[in-house]
Symmetry: C2
Subunit: 413 residues, 2 copies
């Protein structure tokens, strides 16, 4: 392979059909932001949109905004927008609560729909909140369910007649490894189990196709590649075939068939609406919509192609420029098997990342030794990947990570 | 009683120690807003605060804001502020999720703490979402629990050795009737039951004292009298004595003892922190804090005194000015038995309210025939109460409510 140069990267940027999209984001000067898989960047349209919702809707029209400005429809309206990003149909996705809360709803559904079965099967290093909420549900039910955790390559073989649900994150949050959603869903179905997917690291960056994969349930996050803002509301997908067969237990008034009839008995809304619970956080919802509209403004195939190209280029640049400094690629080398991130291990992972952040390259650290770099194709350039690799080399070459301040742990790592 | 005049009301405003607070709210011209118990008004400081959080925190500092701007502490920091408003101690309240979701957490706790008991006792016309979530939890558990609904005056007598929890709204959302929190909590405890209070219509307007009443659990809403914005995050109170004895089932990663250790097994945070679930909606949280700071800027005794005076004056004005038009007072006449609202019934309640809104007096309608008027003492004047009564008289006198457009039902009523 010929040696990569910065000019090669600049040429890729010049030919990038998504290059203009960067201008739609308010990125701080002097920062290369490789953490859009933890918190997406700020769309430039968001401040004005929020200012309007706050002053012109809440402030001026007060309670009448629920009708006048369609606040009451936001969960379904935004859900339909997300549906277009994840291969779902209209009426199959709704925006509500957090990813964790939504997972509780669909896990409860899955266990109820498979009454004779006692196992939720997942991956040992699935994102912890997914495992925690499964543990919470199982403990609450007290019916002898079990969360069985196996290694990634043992998932298919571990499905059996006692498996109620296969619960997986589409993209592993640490390694970036991508599951084959269609194959694993088919394997689950073959064993009579349901398949639940967490799209936290997929929605808005991969060409997800839930219905092509025949997925049963999915949840996902609004604040990563959907650029909805910190703690943006999450979403939940329920395949149409399951919607009328279960009433999810977090039965709040806005999931009622007629919330404003104020009946004493819960009657679920038809369809996906019953997955709404309480009153949605409108300000956070409005910010999410701006992020969604940006994701919808481009073809998802282009996003995926650029995502693969960016992570490929970054891996190549790091391996070329940082050879001999103790880094090992943790993410799959094959781009089709990888989400929109590249992770490396390093024995001094934590201080190396702090030193890198101090130089203006923001990635994140994941215990025990992982440097994680997320690549948001809507706003990153190929030269950013190159420059980040150079900054990483400088940190390692100068042993900048040895400075004591980079070893102090922050509350959020 | 002497006849009330507008001058009397103006004199009350001139003597009102809270009169200046109105200037802290962005109230639209020509509107008398009597629906702050449904959605509080916009504090003038909120737009600038949100603009700063969006652009200077999220936009400029991106993921580092979780540490740099203390986002990670918001649930507990805001919880401690709310604690001061509701008679709780530091570390007894946390801001998270919605009122409904929080009620699920503490109902699950109550049932677990009272394992031999099978009844959740509540009021027949409690706010429906509270009843719905109890139904959802009971259905999920499948252990033969029962939600027993009785009339308000039968609550004490209905407590027995099978009652696990007495679950009540402090203020009835329709009538405005106020429960005696201390007496009912004591009655519950005497029967060995726990007491759960929904403070949706109390926090920020009544002088609530959870610990003086020896309450076990409470939940409440950020978007009514706390002026936190549409769908603002809710709060949950857990008395210190119960905190370490139960792990609530909506066990998300931010309720973990060490979220960033990314362990596979859930280990609850000590104290109230375990009642946090997923990632909090930071934009909505920031808006809530501005509302909380306003509520904390005045003495709650003054708020309560003005609230009683406002509703008293409104009732007097309506009964004086609108006599003979078919209105009946639904709220308790005794101010100590009433929250910060006054409700009247009228056979044409729905169109009457629509006609009133068209004249710039915003209250709301609650089925089947209730005109509901909320009085937020932070931003309402005594002349507003007078003028609202005059507008109501005009609607009734001219039979403006007969116009067909006032009979069409909106999505949100």
């Amino acid at each position: 392979m010929t040696r990569l140069t910065r000019d090669d990267c600049a040429a890729l940027d010049a030919a990038d059909p998504l290059a203009d999209k960067r201008r739609d984001f308010a990125l701080p000067d002097g920062i290369i932001y490789l953490d859009g898989n933890s918190l997406g960047a700020l769309p430039k349209a968001t401040p004005a949109r929020l200012a309007a919702v706050i002053s012109d809707e809440w402030g001026a029209d007060l309670i009448t905004s629920w009708n006048k400005h369609g606040w009451i429809d936001l969960p379904r309206r935004l859900g339909d927008k997300i549906a277009r990003l994840v291969g779902a149909g209209s009426g199959e996705v709704v925006v509500a609560d957090s990813t964790t809360i939504n997972l509780f709803k669909v896990l409860a559904a899955a266990l109820k729909l498979k009454p004779g079965r006692r196992v939720i099967l997942s991956e040992r290093d699935n994102f912890p909140t997914d495992l925690y909420i499964a543990q919470g549900l199982i403990g609450l039910l007290g019916q002898g369910h079990e969360l069985r955790l196996v290694a990634s390559d043992a998932l298919s073989a571990s499905l059996d007649e006692n498996t109620a649900a296969l619960m997986l994150s589409h993209v592993n949050y640490r390694t970036g490894a991508l599951h084959d959603m269609a194959a694993l869903t088919a394997a689950a179905h073959q064993r009579g189990a349901l398949a639940l997917w967490d799209l936290a690291h997929s929605a808005g960056v991969l060409a997800v196709d839930l219905n092509a994969a025949d997925a049963d349930f999915a949840v996902g996050c609004g604040y990563k590649f959907l650029n909805g803002g910190p703690g943006a509301p999450a979403f939940v997908f329920v395949a149409t075939r399951h919607q009328e067969h279960f009433v999810q237990p977090l039965s709040g008034w806005l999931g009622h068939a007629e919330p404003f009839a104020f009946e004493a008995a819960y009657r679920p809304a038809s369809g996906i609406g019953r997955y709404v619970c309480g009153t949605p956080p409108i300000l956070s919802m409005a910010a999410l919509e701006t992020g969604l509209d940006l994701a919808l403004s481009v073809e998802s195939a282009l996003l995926r192609a650029k995502s693969m190209a960016l992570t490929d280029l970054f891996i190549r640049a790091v391996e070329q420029e940082c050879a001999g400094f103790g880094l090992s690629l943790l993410s799959p080398r094959e781009p089709m098997q990888r989400g929109s991130q590249a992770s490396f291990t390093h024995a001094q992972g934590y201080p190396v990342m702090q030193a890198l952040i101090a130089r203006g390259v923001i990635g994140d650290f994941r215990a025990p030794d992982i440097l994680r770099f997320g690549f948001a194709p809507l706003y990153l350039r190929f030269v950013d990947a190159w420059d980040a690799a150079q900054a990483l080399r400088a940190v390692l070459e100068t042993r900048a990570w040895e400075r004591p301040e980079y070893h102090r742990r922050a509350a959020v790592t």
